[in-house]
Amino acid sequence: MAATRDFVIRFAGEGGQGMVTASEALAAAAAQVGYHVMTFVTFPSQIMGGPTWSQCRISVTPALSNGDTLDVLVAFNEEAYEVHKEELRDGGILVYDSAVFEVPEEDKGSMNIVALPYEELGKSTGNPRAANMVILGAVAQFVTWPEQYLEDFNVKRFTRGRPNDAEVVAANSMGLGLGRDAARESGFSLGELAAPDPPDYEQIIIKGNESFGLGALAAGLNFFVGYPISPATSILVFMEQNLRGEGTFVYQASSEIESISTIVGAGFVGKKAMTSTAGPGFSLMSEGLGMAWMMEIPCVVIDVQRGGPATGLPTKSEQSDLYMAMHPAHGDSQLPVIAPGTIEECFYAAMHALNWAERYQGPVIVLSEHMLSERVQNIRKPDPSLVEVEARQVYTGTNGYKRYEGDTVTPMPLPGGPGAYVANASEHDTIGDTTHLPVHHVRGTERRFGKLKLLEDTPYETRNTDNDVVIMPWGGSKGPAHEAYEKMMENGVPVGWYYTMFISPLNPKLLDELREKKLVLVPELNYLGQLSSILRQHGVNAKSITQYTGLPFKVADLVERVTAEVEAMAGSKVGV
């Protein structure tokens, strides 16, 4: 039997049972020895209880999605067992805590089932938290990992300079052993996981929100305020810990209305200012974003999308804020939007967003989703030097300056320097005083939209673009779509690929290319098919592949749905 190249394990139970820790620990351990990893977490918006699950994919090649079917399912309670068992692949292994519940007799024949009283076993090591170690030991055994992978990880992770380090490490090691023994006894195996093939570049292991944080700092962010909200809170917390030093400011605001107004104030005095939020907070920023657009003040908002509308599904994944991101407020405006598709892209997206804000002098939106922001993944170590850091044009002349003259970006005076003017959210004349004369409104409107041209020359990915039908995912759906695309290539399905994280403005050349396609399929996690609608506005024959379950796409579903569209277009079966 050839070695497996990839496996997926899911931990399912109730909030507070340590499932997220387990999958992140497994990911960290696997990454340390050179595997590619990706976790996925989903939990209810609450502290305790509620159906939670977390999974970890470990792969010899880079992981593009979190994995459709499970090789191992660890069920922490009966409900979890019932809900998730269908996703266990044929030949997969179920692990459950036999001290907590019993698997129905009738199921026992159909699955590889390992009753593992890991709570008890964990406690028997002397470290009550070692239950996870018992599980990890068993899992490692199923894929015939060298013992030393996890043993090394244990030593590294738990040698934290605390007095009881040695005890904890020893207990954990015992837990690992107990797990291995139980797995070995069960007689089940997933075969051997192929040895890791560590990439030849440096890597880090990180969450999406942390990647945003690093990218923003790399681009010179020096002002951040935010109000807690899932799944964006960790950006605020990251900033509280890391945005420090001379000339920086970070603060928890009293609401999102305050956040947006405050970063506009900071942008006005020359700071590179940002906030982060999720849907409900983003809605509250509507008026403030219009203000920044009208006043031409640089600032960045990261909206980590969750399920909507309203309070919605705070800890689920959805891509349904695109309309709002582009047109968040009353009146004519179109905000620049960058939606990264991978954790690596999160880093550069933040850099570009801050650059864009400085370059076109206005608000920029970064869209993320729960699935992208909260998962852990190994990525190539980001290289800030790949994106040149930009600073706005600052006015350095004498007083009597017309800040708003002309039809494109003009140097911005900063308080404390020359060129005093009124930054005005009413329509204004060239010095910033209020006016309602038609000539100024026409000039102002065209100036504001004209500046978007400075952001149009953006890169996009293309593959096999000579096909009639192409797919063009956006944001975090890039990963599953990418994997689906590769599957379809293997299957011989004639389909092309487009992708860009620069959603607004869309590169006109990209639009030209898309307009020539018979059909552009847009996998996106929303009901309205928001990006495809926007493409149709631009004359592209686009159609969405939608999903609105609160969960990311499964690769197999995408393969099936895209293939069906290609076949419908071709009028016959395609591929293998």
């Binding site: 942390e210 107004s261 104030g265 007083n399 005093a420 009124v422 930054a423 004349d429």
Partner: protein, 289 residues
């Protein structure tokens, strides 16, 4: 029309109290800038939306930086400005509607932070710019276009309100006494913390209460305003609160907390205490070891 911008065509109505406020602000900024050797361009005025907020376009003489945004958000904007550049001298100018109705939520946080900005609030007891609706400071029982049967909501008592929210410096002025007002604004600006100069600034078009404020012997009207007694110790919070609760409108500095530390200083000392790393170090901290 202003000297600054002959094309600008907004005008306050004749007799509007805001003229006096403008004068007091111009005088104070000019004098303070010169005396204290502050670069003029360090002055920033953040304006609310209302007749009052239009002040930012109307000041004569050298032009400070101005920020004229959306209704009710002067304080969060000022927070961003002052925290973004603590060297700036930040003043907020707003009306009773802008500051105490739609913007009310922001006063508490500014006070608790002791944000070092000075607010000059033009209270005319009415929404002027939208033509005469009731405002938070419109008195109970008063008829306006939106309270045709008389207002049935109690009025906000601004001084009590500011004090209870924790504002460090609270003064009360009257547009007809611009010199005294200028003095209070000056004290507020020199004060290291969140300072409010709340000005009675009558709206001659929709709520002409000059007579009520300064009294009119001929009509037998006693003045509502009176001077805060010389003997008042402005560092005495309870006494300030008592004055604020008593009937009538006291003019003068009601409260000036002793020796407060403004947010920018608090923040600077906090920030210097906390670890700061460069980006490469931070990226490195996520390395797979």
């Amino acid at each position: 029309m202003t000297k600054r911008n002959p094309e600008y065509d907004f005008k306050w109505c004749p007799g509007c109290g805001d003229f006096g406020v403008k004068r007091a602000i111009e005088l104070t900024i000019a004098a303070r800038t010169t005396e204290m050797d502050i670069p003029f361009e360090n002055n920033v005025i953040v304006a609310g939306i209302g007749c009052s907020g239009n002040l930012v376009h109307l000041t004569d003489g050298p032009q400070p930086f101005g920020f004229h945004g959306i209704h009710g958000r002067t304080l969060p904007v000022a927070f961003g400005i002052k925290s973004g550049n603590p060297d700036l001298e930040v003043m907020v100018v707003a009306g009773d509607g802008d500051f105490l109705s739609i913007g009310a939520e922001h006063i508490g946080p500014a006070a608790q932070r002791n944000l070092n900005v000075t607010c000059v609030i033009m209270d005319n007891g009415v929404y002027g710019l939208t033509k005469g609706q009731s405002s938070p400071t419109t008195q109970f029982g008063v008829v306006t276009s939106t309270t045709p049967g008389g207002k049935i909501e109690g009025e906000v008592k601004p001084f009590q309100y500011y004090l209870s929210l924790g504002a460090s410096f609270v003064a009360s002025a009257f547009s007809s006494k611009p010199r005294e007002m200028a003095q209070m604004i000056r004290e507020g600006m020199d004060y290291p913390g969140f300072s409010i100069v709340h000005v009675q600034s009558p709206c001659t078009t929709y709520n002409d209460n000059y007579d009520v404020l300064r009294g009119n012997a001929k009509k037998g009207i006693d003045p509502l305003t009176y001077d805060v007694p010389e003997s008042h110790d402005p560092t005495d919070f309870r006494e300030a609160l008592r004055i604020a609760q008593d009937p009538g409108i006291p003019l003068g500095v009601l409260y000036a907390a002793d020796n407060p530390e403004p947010l920018d200083e608090r923040y600077a000392s906090l920030n210097s205490r906390l670890r700061s790393r460069d980006v490469d170090q931070m990226i490195e901290s996520f390395a797979i070891q």
